[in-house]
Symmetry: C2
Subunit: 360 residues, 2 copies
């Protein structure tokens, strides 16, 4: 097992990475303050791992909430059902909420923990590769609104994260790939050596090799933790983590939440960002081809949906929260392994990127 | 005009107290970062003051949300309607939410500001005496749940508070009295001199004397700010601000939110706390009588509803968030002007207090 510390002053916390962590209560218990625990999971994960986790928590009053599965259920209404259980089971301010699931469960549980009685403790047990490398670090919690993704939420840090790579054995291949999209992102924005490592180890990752997965999770979390420690509340630098996300959110919104997986939309969005970066001369055609090839090897989409026209993209990007006073800001590549945030965007080049990156 | 600073490190903010502040945009504007403002108010306050405020904000994009009036509307559902306006009017992360109203509007607007795009700026313009002396300081925001009051929320500080005492001219007498209940509380928990001042100036307050009101608002905010600065997130000391609130919440819940005003329930609750303190020998019978007399002069209830039996109180206090691991903790008086928090409560004395404090 490896331990990584996310350094955020008095909100610092450890991420435990390894196999079979779920059945090691000695990892969790030191982070549980009171005698009450509420495990929030979803209907897909519950039959696989809920009993195992509850067995590890036999010393506590454990209540469970099983949410419907999928991004389309990441709503205020589903979120509020967590409070119904907390209150009817009389959870007090020393309770601990444990998120057992992917990003949707983590985001909603974290936001419930941030707001139940104005804040209670929170532990994350991500069950997807995407949530291990993305929502494990950063403290972003929240829900979607019909008019925008993640529009309602809070910054709220967990007490610890348990990234049990054994849980990935039951993860569908499509979701493994979606997680790899975010992993590739860290290589692109801040860690060229890691990008090269991914080119050399993609086959092992796709085959579910535990050592390769643990390394990729750790390196991703380290990269993200470095950025978040410098900018916890997304004042500036942190926005580089959104490489591919502005385009990706537009795709997700246009297709309806949940039809494209988040990682899939980010993959296509990163190709668009890389394409635009290439047109600006920041990366070469060969480098752009390497980005596309690596994502293709991971079975990820590298084109936007064929029915999305540029005006639809622009409109959907207009309500994105990365917009500052009406100006479009994008995260682009300055070079392989280095991202920049810029609002100096040539409309013609952007148009060319839309044209070049649309599926036939 | 007087200015009081609430000292909370990088979350410090000023409270401006005086007459005719609403028409002085130079007070507000330095605290508005972007070009968008969303004023949230209610259907009672809107016809009185919304136009005046919007006129002072003519340099900004101003959108308005008018909520239904009353504690019964302090729900997740009503709260979420604020996001509908923010998103449909495309408010970005630099927007400022302004709460123009009493505690309900302030709590819901503050909680919306705390969670819109994970936190945007927030300004409070309290329009009731209660909200001027209570929710102006402390950063408690949130909504009620059918199973408990203020169970969902966040600690979130405003950028500034405008306590315009002129607005109190339109406040119904019953609500003025409800505000006075919280003012008396500050005298009881931390400021005996202020309690004596209130005994000497109660008639002026009830008559709406602006000088007396401004003094009472300032002194109350100072007392609360002292406590909050020492314990922003209610780890310990801050709980003394809940004198009378555990009993009071039980009354509010039993009677249905909104039938008793919050201040009225707190008044009866403070009498119960003072009665129990007297039985413990902490204050004398004469001092208890002074507390009751002062609240009576302010036209406040000093008895619990006649239909509330002790078991109902106990049950309702059991879900109160001031309960720690199942033990009942209460704020009581150690002496006039000094509160303590204790879980060392004699069940027999508590029973006697229930009996003594029930209306005929």
């Amino acid at each position: 097992m490896q331990v990584l510390t996310v350094n955020l002053g008095d909100r610092s916390y450890p991420i435990y990475i390894g196999e079979q962590l779920l059945s090691q209560p000695e990892l969790l218990c030191p982070h549980i303050r009171g005698r009450q625990v509420c495990v929030v999971t979803n209907e897909t994960v519950a039959p696989l791992y809920l009993d195992k986790l509850c067995a590890a928590l036999s010393d506590y009053q454990v209540d469970t909430v099983i949410l419907p599965d999928g991004e389309s259920h990441k709503t205020l209404q589903v979120w509020s059902s967590i409070f119904d259980t907390l209150l009817s089971s009389r959870h007090n301010r020393t309770t601990t909420l444990i998120a057992l699931g992917g990003g949707v469960v983590g985001d909603m549980t974290g936001f419930a923990a941030a707001t139940y009685q104005r804040g209670v403790d929170f532990i994350q047990i991500p069950t997807t590769l995407l949530s291990m490398v993305d929502s494990s670090v950063g403290g972003k919690t929240g829900v979607n609104h019909p008019l925008g993704k993640n529009m309602i939420g809070a910054f709220y840090q967990p007490r610890c994260v348990l990234a049990d790579t054994s849980l990935l054995r039951t993860l569908p291949a499509r979701e493994l790939s979606a997680g790899i999209a975010e992993i590739v992102k860290y290589g692109l924005i801040s860690d060229y050596d890691f990008f090269v490592w991914l080119e050399n180890n993609m086959d092992d990752l796709l085959a579910g090799d535990m050592t390769a997965l643990a390394y990729a999770v750790k390196r991703s979390c380290e990269n993200k933790a470095d950025v978040v420690a410098q900018d916890e509340h997304e004042g500036g630098l942190r926005a580089i983590l959104n490489l591919g996300h502005t385009f990706g959110h537009a795709i997700e919104t246009a297709q309806g939440y949940g039809n494209w997986l988040h990682g899939e939309a980010v993959a296509a969005g990163m190709v668009m960002a890389a394409d635009l970066s290439c047109r600006r001369g920041a990366i070469s055609n060969d480098e752009l081809a390497r980005v596309i090839h690596l994502l293709q090897r991971a079975n990820l989409p590298v084109k936007a949906p064929s029915d999305m026209i540029p005006t639809q993209f622009m409109e959907l990007m207009g309500v994105d929260k990365k917009v500052l006073d009406g100006r479009l800001r994008l995260v682009l590549l300055e070079s392989m392994g280095k991202a920049i945030i810029t609002s100096d965007i040539d409309a013609g080049m952007l148009q060319d990127t839309f044209d070049a990156c649309k599926a036939d």
